[in-house]
């Protein structure tokens, strides 16, 4: 048994450490540890609830919209503000754009280098690359001349002897399986996607002034005025710009991302049997298609237990508990508690830095272990697509069916590392197709003369109850996100978040059940202990966002007020 450590896990957001025991070429045991913490919830206490979104937004600059959305929803729920249709549609456009951009960046810039060998691209035949490209897509940048240019650019880069961010990686590892032509194709699209991601987020800049950290969020609505006839508002010109950007996004996803995903996946189908994990999936549901509290969601909510797609269960947030048995907190009696019923006493008991090994028998992470009805849950694109598939979402069923038939496999392969990669692509396609419709709905609504963007009746704190609690749920790119706020006398008495990467990256619970990362790593092959690229493949398939997961702690250990779960 060999104990290996991957720290830092790079190409993620935040600070993540994986320790694993490897025997006979596969992982027998794994531990996931988050190694950074800020305490943003504590910082929020005592502040104006209308400011909370800006603080919460800074939990993450990658998924730069998601905590702001969850925050304004939580405060609105508490004070009874009702955002008008324009605000809902502005949020739909912002949320969908975030998901599309985030997923594409994850595929090309955070995950691809686990599957794509850049060095191998140097030996590709550009003409063969062009034939490959044209056989899978009618994307116009596909000539031999074009790929030769990309190859020469990479060659020049290598010849200068300064490999920059590509230095000292696992190039040449035997588990890289793409032929040189496919590697060159992927490198070209890595560079194109860098340009593309700058363009698509201009939708955010048009609406929110900038990206990252767009600035038009508002409790009760959105701060972007809409008026087809005003120069300083979201007007017909802005609509036209956004429709054009959305069309470009759909084209790139359809003609570049999805064909690349399918081409690369076809060389790695064995990864459809690796990295399954806990087998339980959760989605809160997202994209309400109306103002009513019970309006249907474009992506439905639900719970899947033990991979049973035929039986998607309704979601009950009251069944969420958290364990701190293996987290750096005082643990009074070891019983898992509802997240808002206990006290949180941080108590770092790990080794003093610098250290080589964590005490994996004891406490070993700044993350807690959230559980649903006692069970660990995987959240994220795979969970959402499985819930939608199980609930009979027609377009999701169609897209999933198309991917499975192209790969020649059945739905059971979805529960895997490759399944996560595929589900992320399917979701991107789905949302890129839907985005234009929401922009049209916004244009139509403001064209009818509805220029309301906010519920101003609840802006002044004198209109609020003296004490109120609220919940804001959101499906972020990486999964189910919840914010809970307790307001007293116009200021924040308590603020809580349970975040996707806490669900996925958390440590073992009091029952010894591993978290989704830890479970997914079991059985993962490791060919070379010095270059554990296989571990990166499975961990990256979750798209870790660790800063999100680790803000949730109360750094002072103060007694927290109870917050009722809504």
């Amino acid at each position: 048994m060999t104990h290996i450590v991957v720290d830092p896990v790079t190409r993620i957001e935040g600070h993540l450490r994986i320790e694993a025991e490897v025997e006979n070429g596969s992982v027998q045991n794994a531990w996931s540890s988050a190694t950074m913490f800020r305490g943003i919830e504590l910082i929020l206490r005592g502040r104006d609830p209308r400011d909370a979104w800006a603080f919460a937004q800074r939990i993450c600059g990658v998924c730069t919209t998601v905590h702001a959305i969850a925050s304004i929803r939580a405060v609105e729920d508490a004070i009874g503000a009702e955002p008008p249709p324009n605000a809902r549609l502005l949020r739909q456009i912002i949320m969908a754009t975030q998901m599309i951009q985030d997923h594409v960046v994850h595929f090309y810039h955070l995950h691809a280098l686990d599957w794509v060998d850049i060095v191998s691209a140097l030996s590709a035949d550009p003409a063969a690359t062009a034939r490959l490209a044209q056989s899978i897509s009618d994307w116009p940048l596909s000539s031999a001349v074009y790929f030769r240019g990309v190859q020469e650019r990479v060659q020049t880069f290598v010849d200068r002897g300064q490999l920059g961010p590509f230095g000292n990686a696992y190039w040449g590892h035997p588990s890289y399986r793409l032929p040189p032509e496919a590697n060159l194709l992927a490198v070209a699209h890595y560079l194109e996607a860098l340009d593309w991601q700058r363009e698509v987020v201009k939708i955010h800049a048009i609406l929110g002034g900038k990206n990252p950290h767009l600035q038009n969020f508002l409790v009760g609505g959105m701060a972007s005025p809409v008026d087809p006839n005003e120069q300083a508002s979201i007007n017909v010109g802005s609509i036209a710009q956004m429709k054009s950007l959305a069309a470009d996004a759909l084209e790139f996803v359809t003609k570049v991302y999805m064909p690349d995903l399918m081409a690369i996946a076809s060389f790695y189908t064995d990864w459809a049997a690796i990295g399954g994990g806990v087998g339980n999936y959760m989605s809160y549901g997202e994209y309400p298609e109306g103002e009513a509290p019970n309006a249907p969601m474009f992506l439905p909510s639900g719970i899947i237990r033990n991979r049973d797609l035929a039986n998607v269960l309704p979601l009950d947030p009251g069944l969420i508990t958290e364990s701190v048995t293996h987290s750096w907190y005082e643990d009074r009696d070891g019983a898992p508690l509802h997240p808002f019923q206990g006290e949180t006493n941080p108590s770092y008991t790990g080794p003093a830095p610098p250290y080589d090994r964590l005490d994996t028998e004891g406490k070993y992470s700044w993350l807690k272990s959230p559980r649903y009805d006692g069970a660990p849950m995987e959240v994220g694109p795979l969970a959402r697509m499985l819930v939608a598939y199980g609930r009979g979402h027609p377009r999701v069923q169609e897209l999933v069916g198309s991917v499975l038939s192209q790969l020649g496999v059945g739905p059971e392969v979805l529960f895997s590392t490759l399944g996560r990669v595929a589900a992320r692509g399917i979701e991107t396609q789905l949302l890129a197709e839907r985005l234009d419709g929401w922009i049209d709905e916004l244009a139509e609504n403001m064209g009818r003369g509805d220029l309301r963007i906010a519920d101003n009746s609840k802006w002044d704190p004198s209109s609020w109850p003296r004490e109120a609690t609220g919940a804001g749920m959101h499906e972020a790119p990486r999964g189910s996100l919840g914010h809970w706020v307790h307001i007293r006398d116009g200021s924040i008495a308590n603020y809580q978040c349970i975040v996707p990467s806490t669900w996925n990256a958390g440590p073992r619970d009091g029952q010894g059940q591993p978290g989704p990362y830890e479970a997914a790593l079991l059985g993962t092959p490791v060919a070379d202990l010095e270059q554990p690229i296989e571990i990166l493949r499975t961990v990256h398939s979750f798209d870790p966002c660790i800063a999100c997961g680790v803000h949730v702690l109360d750094g002072r250990g103060n007694l927290r007020a109870k917050v009722k779960v809504l």
Partner: protein, 370 residues
């Protein structure tokens, strides 16, 4: 192998960028830097020659927002050329290597290029729990920042967290978070590039300035480059005429809001925030926060999470402007005296700048790049 000096021009041509377009790009950068147009030619010459300076990018208590902003860096077609101008050898969010191979890269840079590499720091540095609030490869952030910045030619603290402590240092600062300046007192050639996040255009311009001249631009008293932080948001705001005319947004979505009136009454901190957002814009000039209809948060100023909040409470008039407008109270909080504090702060900054002009270290003169 391409001859030294040809690679950039060659790459540009392969990417369909003509020499003329490249010259225009350099003029644009010179414009952001408020240099004479003729400086563009000098920039172009400097960027096309020489070994790429090594840069390592450290992330501590961060949200990666500045990294994301950096990835949005763009001026026509030359955007990633600008990235290629540097050799970014270590950057956790984008680098291919992981684990001890990644840490080896950092160690090789520190020991092999001592005094020659650049560092960007993103995020604050926690001092509580003996450093356990942020560790990388088992080492504390404080330990890493001391070593890596201590041997660097220069350090850029990008974003308000690295520059001033930012959100982790907001009250009650649960982790004892510090800015780079406070965590590693006395390191040489520290440049602060605050804002939440820092604007990619300003980071790009700063890097080009350094690559071109081998030294850093003049700084204000808070070590911010004057080219980006020399004036307040309010100075050049597109809504300034409405402020002067007394036309204000009163409610979200009202006629004044739709017509682009001044956001002062709903809390805009533009009058006390030094940054070039109105001129440079965000996402290649697509828009900026006040442009979209939301008040400025004052995010490039120290302690803005404490001193600029509540964000929707308006300033109560401030010295240094020719019009003192009495504003009736908005919301239950009214004003909090931040205006007086920040008005004074603004005047101090102006005075400091007038007094010192150029706050850069003399050691910057050693900043040769070739």
């Amino acid at each position: 192998m391409a001859a030294k000096g040809d690679w950039l021009v060659g790459e540009l041509e392969r990417r369909g960028v003509t020499r003329r377009e490249f010259a225009a790009f350099c003029s644009t950068v010179a414009g952001i830097l408020m240099l004479p147009r003729s400086a563009g030619a000098e920039l172009a010459q400097a960027m096309a020659t020489g070994r790429k300076p090594t840069l390592v990018w450290l992330e501590f208590q961060d949200c990666a927002g500045n990294t994301e902003s950096f990835l949005r860096a763009a001026r026509p077609s030359a955007a990633d050329i600008l990235l290629d101008t540097l050799s970014v050898d270590y950057h956790e969010t984008i680098m291919a290597a992981a684990g001890h191979q990644a840490e080896a890269v950092l160690q090789d840079t520190v020991s092999g290029q001592s005094g020659q590499y650049l560092v960007v720091v993103e995020g604050s540095i926690p001092t509580g729990a003996n450093g356990a609030y942020c560790t990388i490869g088992g080492r504390s952030a404080l330990d890493i920042v001391r070593e890596v910045c201590g041997s660097a030619q220069a350090t850029i603290a990008v974003g308000t967290c690295a520059a001033f402590g930012g959100i982790p240092a907001a009250a009650p600062n649960p982790t004892g978070a510090l800015s780079v300046a406070d965590a590693v007192p006395g390191i040489r050639n520290l440049i602060n590039l605050p804002a939440c996040p820092a604007n990619a255009a300003n980071l790009a311009a700063l890097v080009v300035y350094f690559v071109t001249y081998g030294r850093w631009p003049p700084l204000d008293g808070l070590r911010r480059p004057l080219f980006a932080y020399g004036k307040t948001i309010h100075d050049n705001c597109e809504r300034r005429a409405h402020y002067d005319a007394g036309q204000y947004v009163e409610l979200w979505g009202d006629e004044g809001h739709r017509k682009g009136y001044c956001l002062y009454k709903v809390g805009c901190k533009g009058p006390v925030c030094f940054q070039n957002c109105p001129e440079v814009g965000w996402n290649e000039g697509t828009n900026w926060p006040v442009g979209c209809g939301h008040p400025c948060l004052g995010c490039a100023e120290p302690d803005f999470w404490d001193k600029m909040t509540p964000f929707y409470a308006h300033l109560d008039g401030f010295p240094g402007f020719n019009r003192q407008t009495h504003i009736d109270k908005v919301g239950a909080w009214g004003t909090l005296g931040v205006a007086a504090a920040f008005g004074a702060h603004a005047l101090i900054q102006i005075a400091r700048r007038r007094g010192t002009g150029d706050a850069q270290d003399d050691s910057a003169e050693t900043g040769e790049t070739s």
